[in-house]
Amino acid sequence: MRKTENKALRFTRIHLENWRNFTQADAELQRRVFLVGPNASGKSNLLDVFRFLKDIASVGGGFQEALRRRQGVSRLRSLAARKKPDIRICAHIGNDENPIAWAYELSFTQDKQRHALIKSERVSRNGIEILNRPDEKDQSDPERLVQTHLEQVYANQEFRDVSDFFASVRYFHIVPQLVREPDRSVGKQNDPYGGDFLEQIARTPENTQKARLRRIVEALRVAVPQLVDLELERDIKGAPHLRGKYEHWRSQGAWQTEEQFSDGTLRLMGLLWTALDGSGPLLLEEPELSLHPDVVRFIPQMFARIQRRYGRQVLLSTHSPDMLRDQGIGLDEVLLLLPENEGTNVRAAGTFTEVKELLAGGLSLPDAILPRTRPRNVEQLSFSFVD
């Protein structure tokens, strides 16, 4: 029962203050989120908030560890912040019917000895507050403020769903060469860079594995229509290999192993496997890399169909006009990251009247939004080298 409930949960809103290059940002989040912006506008930094929450809530993680992985509070704090204000993160979790089923808020700073300290931690469920720190115990023992309640099993009992939800976030940035040469990443488990992608498939119970591979073939059919079957087999050394059956109009069909798959196909399979593996929010960094533009165009549709089935949220960063060309991408699903002097602004494409008018006049979505995400002083870049 609880599982299906969890499945539909997603991040519905994120509010940030002084987080990396976001002095202040606030955005509603749909089931699919496309982060679009120039280089260094903070697409990865925005995705990193969700990884940060995951790191706090995960086994082996925690608040201090999550900060250590990011080299401390001062590295996280927005450069645009002149004083040394608190970093604040507020996330809403829910679904379409109840967008604020949960609200989690955390603000923190560091003391003079550069120790990270929690300034406040709040949790509410359906608008009713169930945690508000610092409380009396924190005041009498400030040492408590080095840990969140989120990370503590005995303290988060009332909001375990939030903790489980954060821990279920997954980050993915597959590199095809690593899949081909797994030696480079021996021993890594759940490697976000795809090093153990084939091992992950091999570890999955056979029935689930077969069902997922079948769904991947189904999803791929729109882009790779000749692929009719996919299966996992082991070589004499026991190493797993993927092989796919292609249908050719001349022959009975032929099997190919992953060495023969194009980098693009392999990457796409990795993407789809990950999308099917787990139910928490999925963070994808530029999934278009190394894919043919023709295939990239199908990514939004593939995710839409997988999502409809499993309700899983996907947040991805992209530079690709081909990805954004899909007519089914909602204007509320596209977040534009717009660098300003005081840090990067985040706005949904649909909040710009001009974007709507350009679309109504026949422009495609990338043609309507990408000029906005062009670095403002791109023509001055060449001068800055001369200065």
């Binding site: 729109v222 839409a304 169909r305 007519q327």
Partner: protein
Amino acid sequence: MPSDIRLNISGAVEGLVDETVIRRLVREAGGSLDRVYGRNGKTHLKRDLGGYNHAAQHAPWVVAVDLDHDAECAPPFCRQWLPQPATHMCFRVAVREIEAWLLADREHLARHLSVAILRVPPNPETLDDPKQTMVNLARNSRRRDIREDMVPRQNSGRTVGPAYSSRLIEFAETEWRPEVAARQSDSLRRCRERLRELISNWIPE
């Protein structure tokens, strides 16, 4: 020579659904759609049409475009877009959108979308906005997955749902019957005829 050697044809279309439809029609006419250009909407297609026409002096080409509301009917539209089609250019116009060609196979579309056949309008070429008709049909689907894939969410600001094209591609690829649809859509009937002529009259240079 084996009998299954097919004539390779180059093509240019507005989008992905159009590509699938044209691919199907070329295959059916005995050819094979080899390279596909465009797929970036109508404006880009119009811009590059001169190039496609130039190439069609020496090789078979098919270009398909939606009439939309650019003209009352196809002939003035063709004169405006392509006054002098090259020898091997098959320039076809869908009245008013390629969706009308899919709507024209009423029985199979109704089955594919899980709607009553009576909901599928009988004269697709008279429709003002076939894409909207398609979306509205999906809205009435008995299947939730079809509604969620094809109908836009309330605040999306778009005219179609998140997996609209892949649903139509699936239909055009599998269940759609061009020969049945051509009885309901004159522009489709002509397209099939011209493609057949293009392929059967082809003499390699």
